[in-house]
């Protein structure tokens, strides 16, 4: 029987606030720069939700690629010509628990 691929959801906020679509582009490009196209393909990175007003996005990736996604997001220094830092607020196995963790952080 085929093994189910485990996923992880991450809530990432940018400092200062940036549009989620731009944030996702930056994350994908950072991941590709570090781990290549094959790595990017196997990471299963996907933008699930974006909150423009909060500069927050929820992305999904495979469990195996989680440390790589964390490193790729920490590697981002600039976006739209501004100095930027991505902060991972929470990591979870389901969107529901991710939202609970994120809302508890305020």
């Amino acid at each position: 029987m085929a093994r189910r691929i485990k996923k992880r959801y991450l809530a990432i906020v940018s400092e200062p606030r940036q549009p989620p679509s731009k944030m996702m582009e930056a994350l994908l490009s950072s991941y590709e720069e570090l781990f290549g196209k094959l790595g990017l393909a196997s990471a299963g990175l996907k933008l699930i939700r974006g909150y423009q007003d909060k500069g927050l996005m929820i992305v999904r990736c495979t469990l195996e690629s989680l440390p790589k996604v964390l490193l790729a997001s920490a590697s981002i220094r600039e976006l739209n010509g501004n100095e930027t830092a991505f902060r991972v607020l929470a990591v979870s196995g389901t969107i529901k628990s991710l939202m609970r963790k994120t809302s508890s952080l305020g």
């Binding site: 920490a74 590697s75 902060r87």
Partner: protein
């Protein structure tokens, strides 16, 4: 629950240091080891007090970049009793070999693409932790990762790794899990990677705080007085 330590933060002036401490608290750290520039060394007690109010313990760090063994030993002799943490930036093999085994050194930083080979010679003598500053990674990723991979391969099994931000602005700071992702990607298991931003630096700080306290006599001997009734962990001795 884990308590996280940023083992290297650069405080350039009082206001920016406070800003850094607030950001560190928001990111989930409980301790900051600060390299204090300018007149900050004189205001360290004030910074500590404000840090306590914010929820961050502040410790002093000295970063030295000696040219030779003699310079290193001189700097260690004159500064060991004044700082909680001493880090050596190894510019050459001579300095790296001494810094790796001198018990007055807490951590050593090997620069990306060093002009010397750290191999079995360093590995055989190393007793101190190796520190990976994240700001060096951000400024030259390829060179940093190349050197870090070698470090993990050659020294990783013999000594502990510490990851610090080495940041001087809030936007250069990174969260503990983001810092830990670096050794995690380099091949460390998750727990060991998290230890590089929590247990390993905390052990050094606790050991040095004990050494700097008045009740420390010599290695393994501590005076028990009325003020210090708390249990002293075996690791600190």
């Amino acid at each position: 629950m884990r308590r996280y330590v940023d083992f290297w933060v650069k405080g350039e002036d009082y206001e920016s240091s406070l800003e850094l401490l607030r950001s560190l608290k928001r990111l989930g750290f409980s301790d900051a080891v600060m390299e204090l520039g300018g007149d900050l060394l004189e205001r360290v007690e004030e910074l500590r007090r404000v840090g306590e109010e914010i929820g961050i313990k502040v410790h002093r760090k000295l970063v030295i970049a000696p040219e030779s063994r003699k310079d290193l030993l001189r700097a260690l002799r004159s500064n060991r009793g004044k700082f909680e943490v001493i880090t050596v930036l190894c510019k050459n093999l001579e300095v790296a070999l001494v810094a790796a085994r001198d018990s007055r050194v807490d951590s050593l930083v090997i620069p990306p693409k060093p002009r010397f080979r750290f191999d079995k010679g360093v590995a055989a003598t190393i007793k101190n932790c190796v520190e990976l500053p994240f700001s060096q990674y951000l400024s030259d990723k390829q060179a940093f990762l190349e050197t870090s991979l070698q470090l993990v391969e050659i020294l990783g099994r013999r000594t502990e790794l510490i990851v610090s931000s080495a940041a001087s602005t809030p936007l250069e700071l990174r969260g503990p899990k983001e810092l830990a992702s670096l050794p995690w990607v380099l091949g460390y298991p998750q727990e060991k990677a998290l230890n590089s931003v929590s247990k390993a630096p905390r052990r050094i700080i606790e050991r040095n705080l004990l050494k700097l306290s008045k009740r420390y006599v010599v290695r393994g001997v501590v005076m028990l007085g009325e003020e210090d009734q708390e249990e002293i962990s075996g690791d600190s001795l």
